[in-house]
Each structure stands twice: as structure tokens, then as C-alpha cells.
């Protein structure tokens, strides 16, 4: 910071003229990116706050809804995303060192892991579609009062029946009507599930777009010790998306799991 001299004619081609030095430019860019990420945090924060309020109000329904989604896939996806954050951090490191080949490979690895995450998410969404757990009646097969496709077929996620079934650690003493009411309230859980994971997945898609752009520039050998700001900022965005998932996983997948088993 102390050596902020303006050279008259020659400077780095990436230096915009309003900045004194590359260092000042990167500081300003990083600061601006963080201000943007904070607005993102407030947007997701609003969803998290609403989620917490409804979870406290309709706790049994949130337990029933949460245990109907696959904790194994959620766990696997958490590891995939953490792995992608690691490769992203390494890509920033390689860009800063000017290692062109490793940059490209690490960015590619990050994209592959990101795509894998979205693939698993699509599989999970399809399962919910199959079990008639899409809230409302506009998309999918419609949400029934018992929270599943069929009253008799248990394989199709009949939530009301599971609430009363001892084999699913349920309580047979709960009256049928009360179980159906709780099953109906899982629609609120699923609304939050799709809104929060959907907004998160949308951010992942944007992240993949950014990574494609960074990949092309990295291939052209644009980044090195004096200029790697785009990779740094792309990394900040990718890690932010990872952090959102770090909170989504325990909040959506792990509500009172010990009552129900794996």
C-alpha cells in the first residue's frame, strides 16, 4: 500500500486509469465484491429467518418433511461442494502463481464438481416429484391431504401413514386426522425446501457460467502474480455459495433425524 506511485506511460494492461496501482485496484474490487456478497447474505438471511419461524411453529410437520428427503444424497452433495471450494481456492493460488496449466485443470475440476452437485440435486427433485411432494397443485401431481401419491402405496412417500407407522419410528396413537393435518403442513416445509435449494442451485448455475468465462481467460494466459483479480472474485462467489449450503444441509436434512434413523 505504501508504494502507490503512478507511472506515466507504461503500466499493466489490466490497470484501469482511476487506480494508482494494481494493488489498490484489487483492494477496491475485493471490497466491492464483499459488499455485493453481503446483500446476497441478507437475501438468503431473509429466507433463513422465515424458515426458522415456520420450523418453530410447525415443528412436527418439519420433522416429517425433513425425514422424507434423502440424508445420504445431501451428505454426499455437501462433500462434493466442499471439494469444489477446495479446488477453487487452489485455482486462485495457481492463478496468482501464474501456473497456467494447473489453473485450467483446477477450474475444470471445480466445474465438474459443481455440475455433479446439480446432477444430484436434479435426482433429489425428481424423487420429490415422484412422491407427489411438490407443494401446491400447479406443478407436479398435486399435494394430497396425506402428503403422498396414494393412500395404500407406502413406497410413494405417504407422510400421514409414516407418522403413525411404528416401522418408521412413528406413533400409532396419533389419530389419523391429526397425522393427515401434519402431513398437509409439510407443504410449508417443502415450499421452503424448494425455494431455498432452488435459489441456491440458481446461484450454482451462475457460478458455472462465471467459471466458464474464467476458464477461457485462464487458457489465454491472462492471469499471473500482478493480475488475478477475476479469479479471486469468482472464488469469493463460489465460496459464498458453498457457505449457504453449509447451513442448508443441517437445517433442511437433519431435523430430528435420531427419531427416524437413516
Amino acid at each position: 500500500m505504501s508504494t502507490s506511485q503512478t507511472t506515466t506511460t507504461e503500466h499493466h494492461p489490466a490497470l484501469a486509469h482511476q487506480f494508482d496501482s494494481m494493488e489498490q485496484q484489487q483492494d477496491a474490487s475485493t471490497f466491492g465484491m464483499w459488499v455485493f456478497l453481503l446483500t446476497e447474505i441478507m437475501m438468503f438471511g431473509g429466507l433463513f429467518t422465515a424458515y426458522l419461524i415456520y420450523r418453530l411453529k410447525y415443528y412436527p410437520a418439519f420433522v416429517a418433511g425433513s425425514t422424507s428427503i434423502s440424508v445420504g444424497w445431501g451428505f454426499a452433495n455437501t462433500l462434493v461442494l466442499i471439494g469444489s471450494s477446495f479446488t477453487m481456492a487452489m485455482a486462485v493460488w495457481a492463478a496468482q502463481k501464474g501456473y497456467r496449466k494447473s489453473q485450467v485443470w483446477l477450474l475444470l475440476a471445480t466445474m465438474v464438481l459443481g455440475a455433479a452437485f446439480l446432477g444430484v440435486k436434479a435426482k433429489e427433485y425428481y424423487d420429490k416429484w415422484d412422491e407427489c411432494h411438490i407443494p401446491g397443485h400447479v406443478i407436479g401431481k398435486g399435494f394430497n391431504t396425506w402428503g403422498g401419491c396414494s393412500v395404500t402405496n407406502k413406497s410413494l412417500g405417504n407422510i400421514a401413514e409414516e407418522i403413525r407407522d411404528p416401522k418408521h419410528h412413528g406413533n400409532p396413537n396419533i389419530p389419523e386426522g391429526a397425522a393427515e393435518q401434519t402431513a398437509r403442513q409439510t407443504e410449508i416445509f417443502f415450499s421452503f425446501y424448494f425455494a431455498m435449494t432452488g435459489l441456491h442451485a440458481f446461484h450454482m448455475v451462475i457460478g458455472l457460467g462465471l467459471l466458464t468465462w474464467l476458464l477461457l481467460r485462464a487458457r489465454g494466459g491472462e492471469f499471473g502474480p500482478s493480475y488475478y483479480t477475476p479469479v479471486e472474485l469468482g472464488g469469493l462467489y463460489w465460496h459464498f455459495v458453498d457457505i449457504v449450503w453449509i447451513f442448508l444441509f443441517p437445517l433442511l436434512y437433519l431435523i430430528s433425524r435420531h427419531q427416524h434413523g437413516v
Binding site: 487452489m90 437433519l254 435420531h258 427419531q259
Partner: protein
């Protein structure tokens, strides 16, 4: 923010290990009945993981004071939103039913 102040790959591997261990812990503990402490433990681990990502993967540990202060202020505001909203809802009769 200068070139030599960023962490090394070795540190990144350590952070990755810590994050994987944290994820496995969250998953394992979820199947143990801790009563009201289950969500508390799960969220504590999540906060630790998030702080590790922010400080090292996102280089905040190595950034200038302006950036650090801005980020802290942002999270402080987030906590205001969550705690004030919850303290309102949790003291209302319709929530206790």
C-alpha cells in the same frame, strides 16, 4: 492483499480436512438424541465451517481492515434480523400453541 500474503496449498488441504471432518461430525451427531441440543450442535459446527471458509478460502484473514470491518458489520446486521424477528415471534401466544 499482496501476492505473498495468501495461504499455501498445505493450509488449504488442512482446511479441506477440517471441513470434511465437520461434515461427517454433523451427519453422525444428527442420529444421536441430544434433545434440544441437536440443532445447537449442528449449527455450531456449521458456523465453525463457515468461519474457516471465510477466513482462509476467502482470504479474509489476510485482507485489510476496511474489508474485515465491513464483513463483520454485515454479519452483525444479519444477526439483528434473525434475533429480533425470532424474539418477536417466540413471545407471541399463537406461536406457543
Amino acid at each position: 492483499m499482496s501476492e505473498n500474503s495468501h495461504p499455501t496449498p498445505g493450509l488449504y488441504v488442512l482446511i479441506l480436512l477440517a471441513l470434511v471432518i465437520g461434515t461427517c461430525l454433523t451427519w453422525g451427531i444428527a442420529f444421536v438424541d441430544l434433545g434440544i441440543w441437536n440443532p445447537v450442535v449442528a449449527l455450531t459446527i456449521a458456523v465453525i465451517k463457515a468461519v474457516l471458509v471465510i477466513l482462509f478460502f476467502m482470504h479474509v484473514h489476510y485482507s485489510n481492515k476496511l474489508t474485515k470491518l465491513t464483513i463483520s458489520a454485515g454479519f452483525f446486521w444479519l444477526m439483528i434480523m434473525i434475533t429480533m424477528s425470532l424474539s418477536d415471534y417466540l413471545t407471541r401466544s399463537f406461536m406457543l400453541r
